[in-house]
């Protein structure tokens, strides 16, 4: 616990992770078996709950997605095979939402990476107000997304908001597609950059100070030290942060729901799924969308793992 109490700026002792101690190797096999049973016993409740709340609903979603199931006509439910998927994938609504989601994800994650790196460097290096800075940075991350979204919505509401005043009068950016998309990205970036920054900060803590000093003595510029030493050493942290944020941004819902409710072509895939379920009350189509989003997220995770290997989730348990 002692390593936790120190500021995150100090690197953890190297043995913290590797020194994972099992029982004595000399233990009798009966003891080992008992330990094994205890381990499973302790994990069982968690595993059962995870299967019940995740695996079962997903299986059920797949089942529902193969049905024609309109909640307004529940009596007419019937098995229709893959035709819901055909209907979704041939619909422009799906593709519009798909590209919007992809656009928001790519742009906001890219901005967050740059901003987050800047923020992490400030948090890492600043001499004054270290505590104040770290506390303030945590606030946007902790604050309820809906609250943040309302703050941004009001900021851009003509006559009400401070940001709307900067625009020529009569402009209502949330009622036009492109301005609205950028504002959604702004809200998303504000809210989640701190998370990116904190993960990067933890990565920065792993860069040995002596290496940087040595490079400085050798005449490396600040930029060279950043790109040649810090970035390569931080690569695992950067990849994990990117993966987390990409998957998170891809399921964007709250911000869009509050800012535009998906109007003017700003609806994400999550908004599309929600609308199909609760406005159109079409459980079959809604479930097909759910499953397709799940597959998209799976593809993103798989791509990250394949492309970047080591930084994949679960990699940290390897030793």
């Amino acid at each position: 616990m002692s390593t936790r109490a120190q500021p995150a700026g100090t690197p953890p002792p190297p043995e913290a992770e590797t020194e994972q101690r099992g029982p004595d190797r000399a233990a009798l096999s009966a003891g080992a078996r008992q330990e094994r049973r205890l381990g499973w016993l302790l994990c069982a409740p968690a595993v059962v709950v995870m299967i019940a709340v995740t695996a079962y609903p997903i299986g059920y979603a797949v089942y529902l997605s193969l049905q024609r199931y309109d909640l307004r006509f529940p009596g007419r439910a019937e098995f229709v095979g893959l035709s819901n998927y055909g209907a979704v994938l041939s619909s422009p609504f799906w593709w519009d939402a798909f590209w919007v989601t992809l656009f928001i994800t790519a742009v906001s994650v890219a901005i967050e990476l740059v901003l987050g790196m800047g923020l992490a460097l400030v948090m890492h290096r600043t001499i004054f107000w270290r505590g104040v800075i770290r506390t303030s940075v945590l606030v946007p991350y902790g604050i309820v997304t809906v609250v943040a979204a309302f703050s941004w919505q009001y900021a851009w509401t003509p006559d009400l908001g401070y940001l709307a005043e900067l625009l020529p009068s009569g402009e209502a950016p949330l009622t036009e597609q492109w301005p609205a998309l950028w504002l959604i990205i702004l809200a998303e970036v504000w809210k989640t950059t701190p998370f990116m920054a904190l993960l990067l900060l933890a990565g920065l803590a792993l860069v040995p100070e002596e290496t940087l000093k040595a490079a400085m003595v050798d005449g490396a510029t600040a930029w060279q030290r950043f790109t040649k030493i810090m970035l390569p050493l931080m690569k695992p942290a950067i990849l994990v942060a990117l993966l987390f944020r990409t998957l998170d941004a891809f399921r964007i819902f709250d911000n869009i729901y509050v800012l535009t409710a998906g109007a003017q072509g700003t609806g994400s895939l999550s908004i599309l799924g929600y609308d199909n379920l609760f406005t159109a009350l079409n459980l079959g189509i809604g479930s097909a969308i759910s499953v397709l989003i799940f597959i998209c997220v799976g593809i993103i995770a798989f791509t990250f793992v394949k492309l970047f290997g080591a930084a994949a989730p679960g990699a940290e348990v390897k030793r």
Partner: protein
Amino acid sequence: MAAVGKTHAARWGVLNVVVVLYALFPVWWIAALSFKDPGTLTDGDYIPRDWTWENYRGIFETAEFTRALINSIGIALIATVIAVALGTMAAYAVARLRFPGKRVLIGMSLLIAMFPPISLVSPLFNIERIIGIFDTWIGLIIPYMTFSLPLAIYTLSAFFREIPWDLEKAAKVDGATPVQAFRLVIAPLAAPGVFTTAILVFIFCWNDFLFAISLTSTESARTVPAAIAFFTGSSQFQQPTGSIAAAAVVITIPIIVFVLLFQRRIVAGLTSGAVKG
């Protein structure tokens, strides 16, 4: 040298101010809105000219908000307790015991934590209607387990891995009973990790919006984030801006308090395990 130090300090000062403003300004802005009376709502001032508690009095007068606040607190607390209890057991096993399948468990919980919640909404909506828990506390606590339990397992196992478990053995050698060794040595070391995890899980549950608007239909289980989205003004023609701002401040306060009190621990919890390759 002194001059160089000064410009250096000034540069950091400016940077820090920019960072703090960036992080806090939108929060300040909605707080300011909540203290303005309807007449001055549109004046664009960053500091209300006439402070008023009217908006707060307004939201607490109706059952809608108070009920939602009780729902939020109750649901988030129960979900947190369950997730942390089950998570502690699993994380203890992962950190302490040798058994096959523990890597799978961690990997699985990480994968589930990245799950798109919308994918669970349509099946859960139907399942909950069929078994009759739609629009109840249980109906929200169950889906909250999907993200809170993996988060708890993942964070706690990172914390537990750093506990020097040998101390327990040392205590026993010194004559402590197993219960004493656990209570006096291990529990105090594990408590901060468990507590931090509880805060993180609570913040996640407190934050949820999608499940809260999808799996509730009345006041009986709707939490504050969802209730805010359905607020209507006191008259049909009045925008509920002031009420929303006040409600927003009320649900932001617990988070700010947690962040202020446990800033360091929260950072440790968020970054634990995630970056140590």
